[in-house]
């Protein structure tokens, strides 16, 4: 009896296990297929949702294509949208089966609900399948002439997709002409979308202008439309206008005046695109008073951008960084707006400091130095370096700032915070090199010697050694200090070794009695024991020079050197012009021209995809070698991830 019960339950268990395994084998797709074919509407709806949910997390549900299609006939707009989404995703893998959906599409494109008409035409365009193209032409033609502007503006965008798929079809059916005609549409949104579509098609055709060229009459209608359409349409129109070459000076002035109001838009992108247009038109407008007026109007909106989210601030700052290189005085009064807040993200702080140095004028340099001193007391080591270096750059630019800057730096040295001392020492000697015989040499060298025990990093020590050699008369015990450095000469960093060679030679030439022993010791060690060939070579040269002709050595080693220059990486003029022309775009943010990073898509439309891919790579390699990147760009490239080579 007992045995029997156990037997049956074991058998049952086995059956259950088998069932579970079968379900697992068939997987979720099997279950979904049953559900999609269910007789109950709500179960089908739930199944469609689950299919899409699986699709979004990257599971392959393409096997359910026909089952999903069966559910396309429905009044439920939500389900319809989801199925359309599914089609867009999988149409390319099953182009033959898409034909099954065509009937519903064509019917929907004639529905009484404009929303549905637009949805159908948009989806058909997005399918991006040659097979659909023949069936798309008729509905598209009707939708382009639809009474409802929402449908028209969607249809206009669809033309660009058709053009991408097959240019001949788009041209022969007069779709491109229809879009050109839509530029005169009564609804501003349709006009804006036509501009986007035409710009896109023009880019596909290689930007040669045979798709679209603006003329005076069209510019007039665009200028009217730009005030009426939504922000995104405004951007498209402003971009198109920025590319336009006005026929006359008068026209250029007119365009500028009419887009000025766009500067007062809440959307930062509209503002920046307008600024780009104005900067580009500077070459066409000749009247100085107008130019000054335009430039003045740009400032408040740019400042307002600095109160937005940090991400927007960052992009705005990268762009603002370019403007003072063209208009040095424009932003100098607004310096306080660029002061860092304690909780700004680090990338915003770096940009702010860089902009501050660029826009500072002689009159507010004191305020800025005080501000930079505050930053130098912060905790973040890298930002502190950046702030102290900014003090140096500022001083190299404005001589009036030198006294105050030296005071600030000496004050910072007295904090005796390790990282501040290192960088401050380097910056101080840079200032001495720029303003060599000035009255503060003594202050600087004495301050450096006072904190010599903290000066640790090779750069900083090289700077100290240089200063000791150059201004040995200002400090007591220079010989002793140099001799101390010479003790560790062999193991030292090559930068310090080179600095020491120069320093002892100068010291010897100024004080022959005191320095003789030292210079012989250093030269001997350097030539015999140092591993670095540069150090050995320089030591030999000094040695021969000193033994052959001490007078000549004096003229060479103690000669006046050209003052060191401001090291702010200024962009070369052609690159700057190119970046200003692209202000607000990715290139001006990365500070390298578009051709170096943009995925070349211009000549791809007609070429089979695999071939196009191979060409892309070749082109880009050529470009990268032909155009040296800007300093900033190089840094970004170096920081970036190593290229991943996955065959796509």
């Amino acid at each position: 009896m007992m045995n029997e019960v156990i037997q049956t339950s074991l058998a049952r268990l086995q059956i259950m296990k088998a069932k579970a395994l079968a379900a697992l084998r068939k997987g979720e797709n099997y279950e979904l297929r049953t559900e999609l074919n269910s007789e109950y509407k709500e179960r089908r709806k739930e199944a469609v949702r689950r299919v899409i949910a699986n699709m979004t997390v990257g599971k392959d549900v393409s096997g359910l294509f026909t089952d999903v299609l069966k559910n396309m006939h429905t009044d439920d707009l939500e389900i319809k949208k989801l199925i359309y989404l599914y089609l867009i995703n999988y149409a390319k893998t099953q182009p033959d089966l898409v034909i099954l959906a065509i009937n519903t599409f064509v019917k929907d494109a004639e529905d009484s609900n404009p929303l549905l008409r637009a949805l159908a035409i948009r989806t058909m365009g997005c399918l991006h399948v040659q097979e659909v193209l023949d069936y798309l032409c008729d509905p598209l033609r009707k939708c382009l002439a639809d009474a409802n502007p929402y449908v028209r503006k969607t249809a206009v965008m669809c033309v660009a997709k058709v053009y991408d798929l097959n240019r001949a079809v788009a041209e022969e059916n007069g779709f491109v002409d229809a879009v050109r005609g839509a530029l005169a549409d009564s609804n501003a949104m349709v006009v804006a979308n036509s501009v986007s579509a035409l710009s896109e098609m023009s880019a596909m055709a290689g930007g040669r202008g045979d798709v679209w060229r603006l003329d005076t009459a069209t510019v007039g209608t665009l200028l009217t439309a730009v005030n009426e359409c939504a922000e995104w349409g405004q951007i498209a129109i402003l971009e198109a206008l920025a590319e336009y070459r006005p026929a006359s000076e008068r026209e250029a002035e007119g365009v500028c005046e009419r887009v000025l109001a766009r500067l007062q838009h809440a959307n930062g992108s509209v503002v920046l695109t307008t600024v780009r247009l104005l900067l580009r038109y500077e070459q066409y407008v000749k009247r100085a008073d107008l130019l000054a007026q335009f430039a003045k109007k740009m400032v408040p909106p740019l400042i307002t951008l600095l109160a937005s989210e940090p991400e927007i601030q960052y992009v705005a700052l990268r762009n603002i960084n370019l403007i003072p290189q063209r208009h040095p005085q424009l932003l100098s009064k607004e310096i306080r707006a660029f002061f860092c807040k304690y909780n700004d993200p680090i990338y915003v702080k770096y940009e702010k400091v860089d902009v501050l140095v660029r826009i500072c004028s002689g009159s507010n340099v004191d305020a800025l130095l005080n501000e930079l001193k505050e930053y130098a007391k912060e905790v973040d080591v890298d930002f502190v370096r950046c702030a102290v270096q900014a003090i140096g750059r500022l001083t190299l630019r404005h001589e009036a700032a030198a006294d105050k800057a030296v005071d600030v730096l000496v004050e910072l040295l007295q904090l005796r915070a390790d990282h501040v001392v290192q960088i401050a020492a380097v910056v101080l000697t840079r200032i001495l090199r720029r303003y060599p015989r000035s009255q503060f040499a003594a202050t600087v060298v004495q301050a450096l010697c006072e904190h010599a025990d903290c000066i640790r990093e090779p750069d900083a020590r090289a700077a100290l050694v240089w200063a000791l050699g150059e201004y040995s008369e200002h400090v007591a015990g220079a010989a002793g200090r140099l001799s101390g450095v010479a003790d560790g000469l062999v193991e030292d960093d090559s930068g310090v070794q080179l600095a020491l060679l120069g320093a002892v030679v100068k010291f010897f030439l100024k004080n022959p009695q005191q320095g003789q022993q030292l210079v012989v010791r250093v030269l001997k060690t350097a030539t015999e024991k140092c591993a670095n060939p540069d150090v050995r070579d320089r030591a030999y040269i000094y040695w021969r020079l000193l033994s052959a002709d001490p007078a000549a050595a004096k003229t060479i080693a103690l000669s006046e050197r050209p003052p060191c220059r401001d090291d702010v990486p200024a962009l070369p003029e052609p690159l700057l012009a190119e970046l200003i022309a692209e202000l607000g775009c990715v290139s001006s943010v990365l500070q390298k021209p578009a051709r170096q990073f943009v995925y070349a898509r211009t000549d791809r439309a007609g070429v089979p995809r695999g071939v196009a891919g191979a060409n892309d790579c070749d082109d880009d390699d050529d470009d990268a070698s032909a155009h040296p990147a800007a300093p900033g760009a190089a840094a970004i490239a170096a920081d970036g991830e190593p290229e991943l080579l996955i065959a796509l």
Binding site: T56, L272, R336
Partner: protein, 433 residues
Amino acid sequence: MDSLFILNASGAPVLEKHWCDDRAVRRAALVVVPAFARYLGSVAALSDAEPVWGAPHETVCVHIQRKELIFLAIVSREVPPLEVLEVLEGVVQALGEYIGRLSELTIKENFVTVYQLLSEMVDSGATVTTDTAVLRGLVPVPSLVSRVIENVSGIGIGPERRPNVNTSSTPWRAQGIRHASNEFFVDVVERIDAVLDSGGSVVSYDVSGDISCKSQLTGMPDLTMVLNRPEIMDDVTFHPCVRRRAWDAERTIGFVPPDGQFKLASFHVAMDASPRSLPLNVRAQSARSDGVHSVDIAVDPGQCNGRPVEKVCVRVPLPQQAYNIGVQCKSGTHTVATARAPQVEWTVKSMRPGDRGLRLRITYLLRDSGNSSGNGGGAAAPPGVAAAFVDFEVAGYSASSIKVDALRLHRESYKLFKGVRYVTQSGSFQVRL
């Protein structure tokens, strides 16, 4: 914009939407997003990641971080990144309005709505609209009621409420709106952004504000708002409903309002017109003796037309190694957070002008951090308190002294009930130590 990914904080995709061809989709999903995730892992803090990042394969990653989610757009063409950032911001706003609190879970639960919204907002990579008023006409808001009905009965109530598009000359306002009482409320909210040095004097100072309205008006009203000193606003941005011409000619704001809540204008006040007196004077000092660090903060009421300053809150973030934190204050309440980021928060409900100033004293000890994290192994910067953040609110006071002089109604004959409120708040108000 080629693709939009919503990633969680660890860089794993929660949802993706593409507007490009197959090859670019695979490139984005297989190469660019993992590379971006590694980039996120390589920066010190998530918030340090640059919003525009040059990614492999000639693409550019533009992202924003909101509510522990990362909204990442992948771009392979020359576009204004600001446009992409604004779209992402628009997506966040719209999603927030539709599904409430954004999180990995809510996005997954509401993916149907999210997808519908995304396909309405961006069409083949070009932005169509981010205006939630327009979107509401295109995609129905999943209301709680409809969700409950659907969950219980399994049947949606979709088809009978067909969404429709408004294509009139005032797309922001539908025809035939009716309200029992006609009311229009205006909130002038101003924010003071300021950086003070430890002595309490102003390093940088900025006033910006919004004019927010709530409109419950019947029909197609046409309103004109007159401000007392429009000339001191140096950068004004308006809701699309405002007629530029009236503003340019006579500095009045003429508009047909949308129904419900909307932001009529935002403005920024010219620097030279800014009053130099602050509602609160704050001084902060830090000191150290015998290894005990201390921070002293003094808050004195300033000038704001005799209005009380409310909701005063001072936040002092302390260094990570701080322990044994002590707080002394005679009034207000304080909380001390000792978790990963130690912080003292001190709140005072209200301060009236003429009140005695309030004092706060914080003392703490610093744990020896062992080997300092600075490069080179030397003694890095001694960690200290660098800034204190102050929040406050003053009702009935306008820092820029902008007032609404008049609000006139045209085109409709009913009587309009109007109300105007002024509030000045702290924006980013910080004191350096």
